[in-house]
Symmetry: C2
Subunit: 282 residues, 2 copies
């Protein structure tokens, strides 16, 4: 596996590959890799001839009071995992490589989508995400880029951005991977104490209760939401931030399941840790 | 010359050229081509093996009360001019090709730079410019793109965007072309009546008076500005919108010439037509 820090060097290598008729699959990450990330890589490897991962903890998408400093950065272990999983190129720039003047005056924003839900809780977060992903797409000009459904709002924002700004890269959504008790895999799960870790399973249990109720014919979102909130309210240590049935593309609240693709979006604090999860309703 | 309307088709053709080791020079325009545009094309042709022009009157950069509808669109003449001047590819999309849903949710903005001067007079204008240029750069992946210094603030915003978002395209500034009486060439000059057209020459006369005074050793911006405003105030039909000595990169007002690159930015209304011009001070 080649490891490249410089945007220009990565750009050049990918361009050579493209002109040699390779197809490029790309999994952008913030590192601290878990099986969820590796499943993106695995899919990228199956569907392309070259696989690229990036590791960059993007300061632009962290708020002033967020966990930028303590976000885990197990670089050596990440490199080993990528090598074992057949990654061809790791793009791992420093903050200075990505933001040479300490900041980017040019920003990408995705109106409406970027201000809802996580955007409400984390102002500016999705501008930071869209901006860094635009940069990464210009550096690693992949045919396909792989994103987990765990960050569902992020996935929809990146899809919208890629379409609206004519990036050639096709966005491929990948299912959320879960621990045995159903907790969605996340690098932030490492922050949880034992008791918090046990409590965290209630997020997926709540979503499961909503899915079951919908399968049994319930169509009213407020009934589904009440059922899911009851599960969360009954769990210790869990402070729900938002839980909502939304239309899957616009992410606007959906008062009633009406045949359009619907999604439940959920964010909760467990102690000092903020976790998100989501599920589709069909 | 090939004429392509579809972004995907243009993207594919340019990619083929790149992989055949062609170098791509690109001149984005809104059509209504004059010698200023042709000088961009000429430079692109000298410095590259393939030359691409685009013609697109971008609705996103026009305000509600601006001249989107009446902006001249002499398509057949433009095509002839491009063919005569050795253009290899004309990308001429319809608004629907560029904004399939009638709008772009994803926008590029260049903070600070985009709100000054023209941005103050035309709110949202530079978001529209930066967004469409990001799209065009993703469609026509040129090695170099050529922009006239006539739109100096636009040039600086596009430079900043290309740098901050890691576009591979290098931005090449090209000197303003002028009519015999010094009026900067612009597609909007066609709006001027005979009397207005005569009065319009005062813009460049004013800038010339500033340059001369600076050459003679004057360093105080307010003295330079007063001299230039005197010329404009003495001209009939001219309503100055702004005239300012600024630092050439940040576009912030520069109280005194201090060795940094300086620029005079000027906007004025002549009748119903708004014209801009600028000049460097050394």
């Amino acid at each position: 596996m080649e490891i490249v820090e410089s945007p220009r060097a990565a750009q050049q290598l990918v361009e050579e590959w493209r002109c040699a008729n390779e197809t490029i699959g790309f999994a952008p990450t913030m590192g601290a890799l878990h099986d969820g990330h590796l499943s993106l890589l695995e899919k990228a490897r199956r569907e392309n001839t070259k696989t690229v991962a990036s590791i960059f903890v993007n300061p632009l998408q962290f708020g002033a009071d967020e966990d930028l400093e303590k976000y885990p950065r197990p670089r050596q272990r990440d490199i080993e995992l990528l090598e074992e999983n057949g990654c061809d190129l790791l793009f791992a720039p420093t903050p200075n490589e990505m933001y040479p003047n300490g900041k980017a005056l040019a920003r990408v924003e995705v109106a409406e989508l970027g201000n809802l839900w996580e955007g409400g809780a984390r102002p500016g977060h999705f501008n930071g995400v869209a901006t860094v992903v635009a940069k990464l797409f210009n550096i690693v000009r992949a045919h396909c880029a792989y994103f987990g459904e765990k960050d569902f709002q992020q996935l929809q924002i990146i899809r919208q951005m890629a379409r609206d700004l004519d990036f050639e890269t096709q966005i491929i959504p990948c299912p959320t991977l879960r621990e045995n008790d159903g907790l969605a895999m996340s690098s932030r799960n490492a922050y949880l104490s034992k008791a918090e870790r046990r409590a965290a399973a209630s997020l997926n249990r709540a979503l499961g209760a909503g899915v079951l109720l919908a399968q049994n014919g319930e169509r009213e979102s407020f009934v589904l939401e009440r059922e899911m909130n009851d599960v969360l309210d009954g769990a210790p240590l869990v402070e729900t931030d938002y839980l909502a049935v939304v239309e899957a593309t616009t992410l606007e609240p959906l008062p009633r399941l009406d045949g359009r693709a619907a999604r439940v979006l959920l964010a909760a604090r467990i102690g000092a840790t903020r976790l998100i999860d989501n599920v589709g309703l069909h």
